[in-house]
Symmetry: C2
Subunit: 190 residues, 2 copies
């Protein structure tokens, strides 16, 4: 039997910590030799969805393309890690239905903490009205109702969040199934 | 060691037989349990490159996106089969450089035979001037100078072409490397 792929889908407000978690999770899964790729929303916008804006329709088109690639990676036995605000519940559910082996991770961080972090200064601009369609400020964010995993990045350390993630994946037998017939060390290192 | 992915890239005129060969190759590789996905140019235009046209720039953008997905599939150990006219040599060479483990298959079929086939009636429209930017008629096609595999679909049967393909992949040790640690029957059936 071929190794079984899966998709980990990070959703949350801007600056909630999605990308940091995604890249760190990739690092951990690479250490146990899983074939893993990060599909980062901002990066994908440079390649697959150049020219799309931030209207509901364009955001959904962006997510559909990420979901398409995640589906292919999952089908060939890879691990796809998607990191995208993906603010609309029905679009995430659509992605779940497309992909099948899908783990939704809600990166839950209060808006005020995200605004404090404001890595790129976009919240400040959005609050001044200089950026339109900004999730959390001038655009909606619909939190998941039943995410497989929920992280609280304002209360947990990065290590704690990553452990919760790895435990959540292991509890669903995803890591063992993906590792089947993959050689490599058995322990992850943090 | 993880199984090693690769990309088979079909290029050729419209109606030269690329898609037929791509789907048939996928069928054969699935029978030996390889994790394989077809990236069909026309299908990709419905999903990843919706809105793009047929100017040189748009065609190249289309190819860049297909190459991006093929690269990811190849990296996680999958087999990507791309089927796209991909008329420009430098764009195909760019795809090759991006992907690394790349097999260019030139589906060589004389223009007059392609025009006779005209599956979708597009050649007829292009010849009447009702379709612009049509490869072979009003747009250039730059044949590969050193393709790994060259097929002559006007002279070979489909079975012959598929055998040449499988032999070409096997000769490059790609099938054995991709099969490493994959279970399944050893013989392909035609």
């Amino acid at each position: 039997m071929s190794p079984k792929g899966f998709t980990v889908w990070f959703t949350g407000l801007p600056c909630s910590g999605k990308s940091t978690l995604a890249w760190m999770l990739q690092k951990q899964l690479k250490e146990i030799n899983l074939p893993v790729e990060v599909l980062d929303g901002d990066e994908i916008r440079q390649i697959l969805t150049k020219g799309l804006g931030y209207s509901k329709e364009d955001r959904n088109e962006n997510i559909r393309r990420i979901a398409f690639v995640a589906k292919l990676l999952t089908r060939v036995g890879g691990v796809a890690i998607a990191s995208a605000i993906s603010p609309y519940r029905d679009t995430r559910d659509w992605a779940r239905a497309q992909i099948g082996n899908f783990v939704e991770v809600y990166v839950n961080c209060p808006l005020e903490v995200c605004i404090q972090r404001d890595v790129k200064g976009h919240y400040a601009k959005a609050l001044k009205g200089e950026m339109q369609h900004y999730t959390g400020i001038s655009d909606p964010y619909e939190p998941p109702l039943h995410p497989e995993i929920e992280l609280h990045t304002d209360q947990e350390s990065l290590d704690e969040s990553i452990h919760k993630l790895l435990d959540g994946l292991a509890a669903r037998n995803l890591i063992a199934a993906a590792r089947k017939q993959q050689a490599g060390p058995t322990d992850w290192k943090l």
